[in-house]
Symmetry: C2
Subunit: 414 residues, 2 copies
C-alpha cells in the first residue's frame, strides 16, 4: 500500500475510437466517485492535446443518466488524438499536472498511449512528484502485448461477423466472387474474426488472407478459382495490411502503380489517384476479372470505419470488460504501483471468465520489437489462405451470440 494520495485526476482517450471505449471512461468516472480524496475529475478534450491546451470536461458534474448513455455510445466522448508526444510534449503535460495538482492520470488507448503514460510517469518520478499513471487498454486491432485480448476488439469482431453473415447470404443469392477488405495493418485478428460467420459447411468466408503471411497474386487467383469451381461462388476476407514476399504492403504497391500510371489532367488539375484500402479492393477485383474470364461477377467492399464506429452493434462481453478495466484502473491507482496498465487475464476452465491484473507499462509498450502482437501461427492454415476453426475458441466468447440464419432444405420433386 502506497496510500491514498490526495489530489485531482485527469482522464483522456487516444487513438482510433471503438464501440466501447466510452465504457472504460464511464468505468473510471463512476469508480472515482467512491473516493473523496480524489478531488476533481477532468476529462481531457482530445487526449494529451486537451491537457496542454487545458481544455477539459468536468466529469464529476455529468448526470448519471447521461453517463450511462455515453457508455453505450461508440467513438470517444472526450474526443481523441493521434498526437504521439515526445519528451518535451510530456514535460508540458507534467507542467499542467503540477499546476492543477493532478495526482492521477488515466489514459485510455493503445501502445502509443502506454508509451506516453510511461514518459510522463518517468518525469514525475524524477521530480519526486507522486503521480499515479494508469493505462487502460483499447484497440479494435487486438494487438496489445500481455493482455489476453483488448477491449474494443470483441465489438469490432462482432460487426465483422454480422457483416460476413449477411455478405455470404447475399453471395448465395446472386452468385459470384465477393472480396471484403478489413482493418488490420499488422495484425490479422479482426480479419480472422470473419470466420465466426460460418454456420454451414459451405458458408463463407471461404478464403482469409492475413498480414501475418505474404500474399501472392498468383496464389490468390488460383485459390479463388478452386473455390469458385467447387461452389459456384466465393467469399474472401482480406486484411488491408497484406504484404508481398518482400514485406511491402499491397496497398502501397497499388498506390505506386497508380501514381506511375497517373497522367496530368487539364480540367481538374492533377488527378490524385489516392490509394487507400478501397483501391486495394478495386485492384484485386480488376486482377480477378482480368485473369479469370470464367468468373462473371466479381465485387468488393472495404468495410472501413464502420468496423469501429457503427452505432447499433457491440458485444455485451466486450462492453462489460471495457467497463471493468476502467474501474480496475482506479482501484490499482490507489493501492499499488506508481504506474501500470490493466491487462485482461482469461481464467482457466471450460466456461469463459476473465480477471484483471496490473502490468508494467514497459511490458505493454516495450522499447524493442515486437511492440505489438500478431495472430499466432496455430490459427493460420498451412496454405496461408485461411483461419482454422480453433480460433473460434479464442474469439467466440469475446463476441457472444450472433444473429441466427434461416434457410430452406426441402427441394421439390417435379
Amino acid at each position: 500500500m502506497t496510500g491514498h494520495q490526495t489530489g485531482n485526476a485527469i482522464v483522456g482517450q487516444a487513438g482510433g475510437p471503438t464501440a466501447v471505449i466510452n465504457q472504460s471512461l464511464v468505468g473510471i468516472i463512476e469508480e472515482v466517485q467512491k473516493y473523496p480524496h480524489i478531488g476533481r475529475l477532468l476529462g481531457a478534450r482530445h487526449g494529451v492535446r486537451g491537457i496542454i491546451r487545458e481544455q477539459f470536461f468536468d466529469l464529476r458534474r455529468q448526470p448519471t443518466n447521461m453517463l450511462e448513455l455515453v457508455a453505450k455510445t461508440p467513438a470517444a466522448a472526450l474526443g481523441a488524438t493521434r498526437d504521439k508526444p515526445d519528451k518535451e510534449y510530456c514535460e508540458r503535460i507534467f507542467e499542467v499536472f503540477k499546476k492543477l495538482d493532478v495526482r492521477y492520470f488515466f489514459y485510455i488507448g493503445g501502445n502509443d498511449s502506454a508509451q506516453t503514460a510511461h514518459i510522463v510517469a518517468g518525469i514525475a518520478d524524477d521530480a519526486k512528484y507522486d503521480l499515479r499513471v494508469m493505462h487502460v487498454p483499447k484497440t479494435i486491432d487486438n494487438d496489445l502485448l500481455v493482455t489476453d485480448h483488448c477491449p474494443g476488439y470483441g465489438s469490432a469482431a462482432k460487426f465483422v461477423a454480422c457483416a460476413f453473415i449477411g455478405d455470404d447470404l447475399d453471395n448465395r443469392a446472386l452468385q459470384g466472387v465477393k472480396i471484403n477488405v478489413l482493418m488490420g495493418r499488422n495484425a490479422g485478428f479482426l480479419t480472422a474474426a470473419s470466420i465466426l460467420a460460418r454456420q454451414r459447411p459451405d458458408d463463407g468466408p471461404h478464403l482469409v488472407y492475413l498480414p501475418e503471411r505474404s500474399f501472392a497474386l498468383d496464389q490468390f487467383v488460383t485459390d479463388v478459382e478452386a473455390v469458385y469451381d467447387r461452389l459456384g461462388r466465393c467469399v474472401v476476407a482480406i486484411s488491408e495490411g497484406i504484404r508481398d514476399e518482400h514485406g511491402v504492403p499491397w496497398a502501397e504497391k497499388v498506390q505506386v502503380m497508380r501514381k506511375e500510371a497517373a497522367v496530368e489532367r487539364d480540367d481538374f488539375g492533377n488527378v490524385q489517384l489516392s490509394a487507400g484500402a478501397g483501391s486495394l479492393a478495386d485492384y484485386l477485383v480488376g486482377s480477378l476479372r482480368n485473369r479469370c474470364k470464367s468468373i462473371r461477377r466479381v465485387r468488393a467492399d472495404t468495410y472501413g470505419y464502420l468496423q469501429r464506429s457503427y452505432h447499433g452493434c457491440y458485444s455485451e462481453v466486450d462492453a462489460w470488460e471495457a467497463r471493468l478495466v476502467g474501474q480496475m484502473a482506479v482501484g490499482y491507482s490507489l493501492d499499488a504501483e506508481q504506474e501500470g496498465s490493466v491487462a485482461l487475464v482469461r481464467l482457466p476452465g471450460t466456461t469463459y471468465a476473465v480477471g484483471t491484473r496490473l502490468v508494467g507499462l514497459k511490458e505493454v509498450a516495450p522499447d524493442e520489437p515486437p511492440k505489438t502482437k500478431v495472430l499466432p501461427d496455430k490459427y493460420i492454415s498451412e496454405k496461408n489462405n485461411n483461419v482454422l476453426n480453433n480460433f473460434r475458441e479464442y474469439v467466440g466468447p469475446l463476441v457472444g451470440d450472433l444473429p441466427k440464419v434461416g434457410w430452406f432444405e426441402q427441394t421439390a420433386q417435379i
Copy 2:
C-alpha cells in the same frame, strides 16, 4: 370475384436482396397455407432462372420455426437473379407453368420483375390460361412508382442512419473530413436517409449530394471548405450515382480517367484499374487533398453491399410491411384481377399507418419514362447540397427508433 382457381403456385425473388425480402416470401407462404385449392407452393431457385430450369424448393414442407427464422434473415432465401427475361424467355416460363399446372405466380422484386410478370401474364391471357400474376415490391432504392415506399428501403435507411451516427461521432473524436458514398444510381432516397443521424445542430452529415442534382467538383470543394471552416470538421453523404452537368455519372468519369491513365505492367499483366464506387470515393479524397491544403485529414468509405445485407439491422416497420405485402398478394390473387402489384398507401392522419391496394403492373413498370421515382424536389436544399428536414416526416416512420447518443456538456473551469 373471379373465383378461386385450383392449381399450383410458384414464388420467386429477383434483383438485389434486402434485409426483409424474406419477410414477403414468408408472408406468401403462410397465407397460401390457408387456401387448400392452391396445391403445391414451389419456390423458384434464383428467380425466373429456377423456373425454366425447374429447380424448386417445396415451400409447403418447410417447418414453421424455420420459416420464422428465414423471415428474419437478410438476402434472398430462394436465391435471386439478374436475368431480365425477353418474350422468348417468358414463353419458356409459361411452358413450365402449363406443365406444372401453375395458376398463381408471385414475383418479389423491383420494376424489372414487374415487367417480367406483366409479359408472362400477357402470354397466359393470349392462351386463355387462367394465371394470377402478382408482383410484390422490394428495393432498397425506394424508386418504384405508385407505392408510397418500398419494402426493403426502411431497413437499408436504418443501416445508413446508424452508420452515420457512428461516423459523425468518430469524426468528432478525430476531426477532419469524412466522405461516405452510398448506394443509389438514380434515386437519392437512401442517401437522403443519412440525415436521420442528426440530433444536435452540428451533427453530420453536413452535406448531402444526390443523383437528382448535378455535381460539380468546384462547388463540392467550396461547400466542404465552408463547413470545415465553421466546425473544424465535415461529414459528407454522397450518392454513388452523382452526375456531372451533362448527366454523365462521376463514377464513369473516374473510370475513364483511370483507364486513360493506365499503363501496361509486366509483372502482373495488365493493371486493371477497375472503378466502382470505391474509386469515386478515392477520387474525391484525392481532389480535396489536392485543393484544400488546410484540411489535414480526409477519409472516405463506400458503404457498399452492407447497406442491403448486414445481418443485425432492420426496421421493425419495414419487416412488418414486407410481410404484409406478401400476405396481401395472396389475398389479391384470389379475388381480384388477373395481374397486379401490391402498393403501400400511407393513410392520412397524424400517426403513421399504412394500407395496401392492388395496382396495375403497367403502373409500376410503364413502357415510357419515367419508369422509376426520384427524390422529390421539396426535400432538396436550394443549393443542391443538402436534404431538408421535412424529409424526416417521410422517412422517419419507415425507419423507427434509432440508437441514442450520449455526450458531455459541462466543461471545466480551470
